[in-house]
């Protein structure tokens, strides 16, 4: 199982690079995950998305799909693709330390 080094902590990842235990997530880990996913330094807009994903997942019990993020987070579809150009569908959840979203939308 791959392990990520983040500021001296070891973080367990699954085969697709998602955190195995999302309760161990910290903002520092997010920075390292973002770098690994090709998402530049995290801006305030990235954090808005990441925070929404974590709060929503805690309430709903599963990571939000992209349409849900675009409708409820205050960050629209166009901007989500600018923030996570290599695929906001997976990357927002990945950087937020959540499992891979199961929905198709």
């Amino acid at each position: 199982m791959p392990v990520l080094e983040a500021k001296g902590n070891e973080v367990e990842l699954d085969g697709d690079g998602f955190m195995v235990d999302s309760s161990k997530w910290t903002p520092e880990i997010a920075e390292v995950l973002a770098e690994g996913a090709g998402v530049g330094p995290l801006t305030e807009r990235h954090w808005k998305v990441i925070t929404f994903c974590r709060e929503d997942a805690a309430q709903v019990g599963q990571p939000p799909g992209l349409r849900r993020i675009s409708k409820l987070s205050g960050v629209g579809t166009k901007e989500l693709y600018q923030l996570f150009p290599k695929g906001p569908g997976k990357l927002a959840a990945k950087i937020a330390g959540l499992p891979k979203p199961k929905g198709c939308i």
Binding site: R67, T77, Y81, P85, G87, G89, K90, G103, C104, I105
Partner: protein
Amino acid sequence: MNANVTAQISEPTEATAPERKPIEHLSVIISKGTLDMAYPGLIMANAARMSGIDATLFFTFWGLDVVTESRIDHLHVPTVGNPSMHIPTMLGGLPGMESVATEVMKKEMDKLDIPPVREMIEILSDSGARLFGCQMAMDMFKRTKEDLVPQVQDVITAMDFFEESAGAQVLFI
């Protein structure tokens, strides 16, 4: 000698095993205008964009209805000649059956948080997917660019489409 070659092919070593290259560009030809044939192409293209894969869509023949302003909100599920409906064709042809089937499908899609077709097209456009109408189908149905939704960036020929699809996996629906 042939036997040797066969033996070689049937025992691939790790070094010769083909590398699994990720898809970088998906190009979808949407040729049908029914609700049940419109959604798969739109959802696949959107899933591609969500995964960071480029997406190009080409609307041709009846598929043009999916991006035609006067039709986009009124696409139907066919109840005749559709064995998957599990109703006899003669019943499927009765007045109102198609509307009922369409309403049921729209409700089920909504439950899955799948947006109406017009919103799907908006999402695709916002995601950076490129949408094209087919010149020949436009001529055949006597439609102009103004008849199409604004997310369609251009009307192009089949040959242009292949140029736009450089490096893409092409999907025909």
